[in-house]
């Protein structure tokens, strides 16, 4: 196993933070394939930065479970992919290692936070990639880069070794150029892990790759009207075309409205920021992290290290999360957010009594230009409206390319009930041309 440690910049789109090769086993379902691993996944002996100055020199002494699984399946890792700092963002522009360019749309963002993973696949720098999806971070860049991305049912894939941002919301997900490849990668990484108490049996003995057979005869698809309203017309038109395609292949298209979605973005952000404020508390410069010249006692040095190591978006979310959990505000924000979450779950469960899958454009817009999105944090959060409800409800969803608007990729999102990965993979393979 060689480890070639070079800084990002060698690759044309800045998709990688660290280019390093780890050879996988000789045979297995992924033998001969290359894979990019998002830089928030622990790789033994290979720098893992989470896109942050805080972990610029951090080298984990252990592998994430998903890393072990892909290597055992024969894949060769070619590098650690760029990402928004600590997975907080939707454009990969908050990375401390520079932005990644979208290979499918020059001068535009690749999406985020798994922007490097999607770009590596879109550019052909890797056959496959692993990303993580907390509020859309696999599906968003898949949509913007014109590739396939899957967010599995919560608990299907182990999070052991994934640096936590919001642990009740996130899952590791595969990215690839085809639905079948993404499904194959999902087969490899899914299944229970004794090191992660939140994993379930849903992914044991899976046959996801085989489900990419395009057979959607009789499939009922509910279009979520609430998520159409906020989207650009061009995007809706392209999305509609993929629905027509499904219909032509025998699927039945209907409309669905979910009242709870109006509060989904707020609920998502309150929960995610609250969890983040606690998950990132461990970064204090003692066991790992940058050295500091700061003087003073413990509290003073902690505060100095964290001020220097975290970027503004991370600081913003830590502060807001701390606020939402603090005495006097806990009930108003955190508790209400949990109520909203339960409501969203129930709303989806009810909808699935009438349809097999739900559909929406993955993103309400085409990929924005680099540098345009960072002035107004709230606007950025609103861009997640179509993806966050899925994480709140712990459900599986896939983003599959639907077409483009003047060359700018548009993704179609298909959502299923829990453990219905095979169904959404099947439906996506029918959208794929």
């Amino acid at each position: 196993m060689s480890s070639d440690h070079t800084d990002a910049g060698d690759d044309a789109h800045n998709a990688f933070i660290t280019e390093a090769t780890i050879e996988g086993d000789d045979d297995g379902p992924l033998a001969g394939r290359t894979i990019a691993i998002k830089d928030n996944m622990s790789t033994d002996g290979v720098r893992t930065t989470c896109g942050s100055a805080m972990l610029d020199e951090y080298v984990p002494p252990y592998n994430a479970t998903v890393v072990d699984r892909v290597l055992e399946a024969g894949a060769t890792m070619v590098g650690k992919a760029n990402m928004d700092e600590f997975a907080m963002g939707g454009t990969t522009e908050t990375s401390a290692f520079g932005a990644t360019e979208n290979p499918a749309a020059p001068d535009r963002v690749p999406g985020g936070s798994s922007g490097g993973s999607a770009a590596a696949v879109a550019a052909g720098a890797a056959d496959l990639a692993l990303g993580s999806d907390t509020g859309g971070s696999v599906r968003n860049p898949a949509s913007f880069c014109g590739v396939v991305g899957i967010k599995p049912t919560y608990g299907l894939v182990s999070r052991y070794g994934i640096v936590a941002y919001a642990n009740s919301l996130e899952q590791v997900g595969p990215l690839a150029n085809t639905v079948e490849d993404a499904a194959l990668l999902l087969d490899v990484i899914s299944g229970p892990d004794p090191n992660d108490a939140t994993t379930n049996d849903g992914g044991a003995d899976s046959g996801y790759a085989a489900a990419a057979d395009g057979d959607v005869e009789g499939l009922t698809v509910g279009v979520i009207t609430d998520l159409i309203e906020g989207a650009d017309d061009d995007v809706v038109e392209t999305f509609q075309a993929s629905l027509d395609d499904l219909e032509a292949q025998g699927a039945e298209i209907t409309e669905v409205s979910l009242d709870s979605l109006e509060h989904a973005v707020q609920a998502y952000y309150v929960i995610a920021m609250s969890e983040a404020s606690s998950n990132l508390a461990r970064f204090d410069g003692v066991r790992y992290g940058p050295d500091t010249d700061a003087e003073g006692n413990w509290n003073e040095q902690f505060a100095a290290v964290r001020e220097a190591g975290f970027g503004p978006e991370v600081k913003r979310r830590i502060l807001l999360g701390t606020y939402a959990l603090s005495a006097g505000y806990h009930d108003k924000y955190y508790k209400k957010a949990q109520d909203a979450r339960a409501w969203v779950k129930q709303d989806f469960d009810d909808a699935f009594e009438d349809v097999d899958v739900l559909a929406s454009p993955t993103m309400p817009v085409v990929p924005p230009k680099l540098g345009e999105s960072l002035d107004d944090p709230l606007q950025l959060y609103l861009m997640d409206a179509n993806t966050v409800p899925v994480n709140l409800a712990n459900l599986p969803a896939i983003s599959v390319p639907a077409g483009d608007v003047d060359g700018l990729p548009v993704g179609c999102q298909l959502i299923g009930p829990k453990f219905s990965e095979e169904t959404i993979i099947r439906a996506a393979s029918a959208v794929e041309d």
């Binding site: 928030n40 622990s42 994934i162 004794p194 108490a197 404020s277 606690s278 508390a281 461990r282």
Partner: protein
């Protein structure tokens, strides 16, 4: 049932305790690292990504810790709710690898129990509000000084993640002596359950909350109104690590507060640190107002539904019940019963012996002889647990008159412990076998023949002569004859 209220002129004392006990599981509470600490182990040599708080690590709950907590709940007659969950207690401190502690908040594993204590003959029930599971932080060394003056902090995470049960009592104590009795009793019960080891350094840590109230607010049963307590000052005393220290620290506090009141000084609500070496409590620098721990449920740990474990898990008969049974079933006096239940292992050993012999014989042998010899040698009953058969054989030899009590106690038993040999080997080696009856009969005749003057003295009515002759026979037999029967045989011969 009267409370031993400590009267300080017009004041009564109210105390509540928060007790942290380390559990004797094989591994830590959320990871597979061992809890066994060698005295000379290297710092940070018994950790893993989980207990070190590395990015990406996840906790997985130790079933052994849950079992131990359920046993504790059962022993304290506590309720175990339908569902119990873990929460994060968020604060920053160098001994916390994640800068939050995994603990339990509004759904602890045990609630509303009690423990009976006895102080100077008076029995009282101490209410247990709750008991919950949590993880131990790491250990700190303040380099170049004390906590106030050190230039740097050295941190060792070997201890981080050790399972703890925190037991919180109602403010039911009315004197420092009661807290000591409670803690001693609690330790005894926990050791009986096999979940705790009092000899392990740091296995018991106690924080006490103490208030002074008007004596007439406490009724004769020790009851006091909640509102009175809420209004009273409250001092928290930390850094108590034994039941004896609890009584000392709190007695000091009572004095200190009593003196302050006498001098007209108001008592502050504050936290004080017990300094064992100086024998005083010291005010801790006042920290930020009431810390905001921002508790929320730990999503990485699914909830527990273990209320039915209370029925499925067996706990051994607890010390009090066992003592009572020993008195009732074996007819022992309470002092003997106490000695024989000092630990669960002693009690088990005794009962095994009592199965084979008269209980009083067994009691004498175990309580008086064996425990005494073990104590003298700094040995524990567990050191000879495998030699129950040998010990029983020893008693059997005495009961069958094959060995004198004196030789058994003073020679054989001691040699068994010192040399590790079995009774028969020792008896052969030392020539302690009781001489057979024929040999003794011969010795009797010989003694009479060899000592005509003594015989004449006996016939003249001198008792001392008989003793002399007994002594002669004993000498010939090398001490292995039974003096009583020798006496008998001589009389028969002489009177014949």
């Amino acid at each position: 049932m009267t409370a031993q209220a400590v009267q300080t002129d017009e004041h009564a004392v109210v105390i509540g305790l928060e007790v942290h006990v380390q559990l004797e599981t094989a591994t830590k509470i959320f990871c597979g690292c061992s809890t066994a600490a060698d005295d000379d182990e290297e710092p940070n040599s018994r950790t893993c990504p989980v207990c070190l708080g590395l990015p990406g690590a996840l906790p997985v709950l130790n079933e052994g810790a849950v079992e131990a907590a359920v046993k504790i709940g059962k022993a304290l007659s506590a309720d175990i709710p339908e569902r119990t969950t873990f929460h994060r207690k968020n604060y920053y401190y160098p001994d916390l690898p994640k800068n939050f502690q995994l603990t339990q908040y509004d759904a602890p594993i045990c609630q509303e129990g009690e423990l009976e204590i006895s102080v100077e003959g008076d029995r009282r029930e101490i209410g247990i509000t709750r008991a919950h599971l949590e993880e131990d932080p790491g250990s700190l060394q303040h380099k170049g000084g004390s906590i106030d003056t050190a230039e740097a902090t050295l941190i060792n995470y070997n201890r981080a993640g050790t399972p703890l049960v925190e037991i919180v009592t109602e403010p039911d104590f009315r004197s420092p002596a009661e807290t000591r009795a409670f803690l001693a009793k609690l330790e005894e019960v926990l050791e009986y359950l096999g979940v705790f080891d009092a000899t392990r350094d740091g296995s018991l840590r106690v924080d006490a909350n103490i208030s002074l109230v008007d004596a007439d607010e406490v009724d004769e049963e020790g009851a006091i109104d909640d509102s009175v307590l809420e209004d009273a000052n409250r001092t928290e005393v930390k850094n108590i690590s034994s039941h004896k220290a609890a009584e000392k620290a709190l007695a000091y506090e009572v004095s200190r507060q009593k003196n302050a009141v006498k001098r007209g000084r108001a008592l502050k609500t504050e936290t004080r640190h017990w300094d064992e070496s100086r024998g005083i409590t010291v005010s801790m620098r006042s920290k930020e107002s009431e810390a905001d721990y921002r508790y929320f449920r730990e999503a990485d740990l699914p909830p527990l539904e273990v209320a039915d474990w209370k029925d499925k898990i067996d706990i051994p008969e607890l010390p009090d019940a066992r003592r009572e049974r020993f008195v009732a079933d074996y007819g022992l006096d309470s002092e003997a019963a106490s000695k024989l239940t000092s630990t669960k292992e002693v009690a088990d050993f005794f009962e095994a012996v009592a199965e084979q012999f008269d209980p009083n014989v067994a009691a004498t042998w175990v309580a008086d002889n064996l425990l005494g010899e073990l104590n003298y040698r700094d040995m524990l009953i567990t050191d000879i647990e495998g030699r129950l058969d040998e010990f029983s054989r020893l008693i059997e030899l005495v009961e069958n008159d094959e060995l004198t009590v004196k030789n058994a106690e003073e020679v054989v038993l001691r040699s068994m412990l010192d040399d590790g040999d079995d009774p028969e080997t020792i008896i052969d080696r030392e020539g302690l076998g009781k001489a057979d009856d024929d040999a003794i009969a011969d010795f009797v005749v010989e003694a009479i023949d060899e000592n005509p003057d003594a015989v004449d003295d006996y016939h003249s009515g001198e008792d001392g002569a008989l003793n002399f002759l007994v002594g002669q026979v004993m000498q010939k037999s090398g001490g292995s004859a039974d003096p009583g029967s020798v006496n008998q045989l001589l009389r028969e011969e002489l009177d014949a």
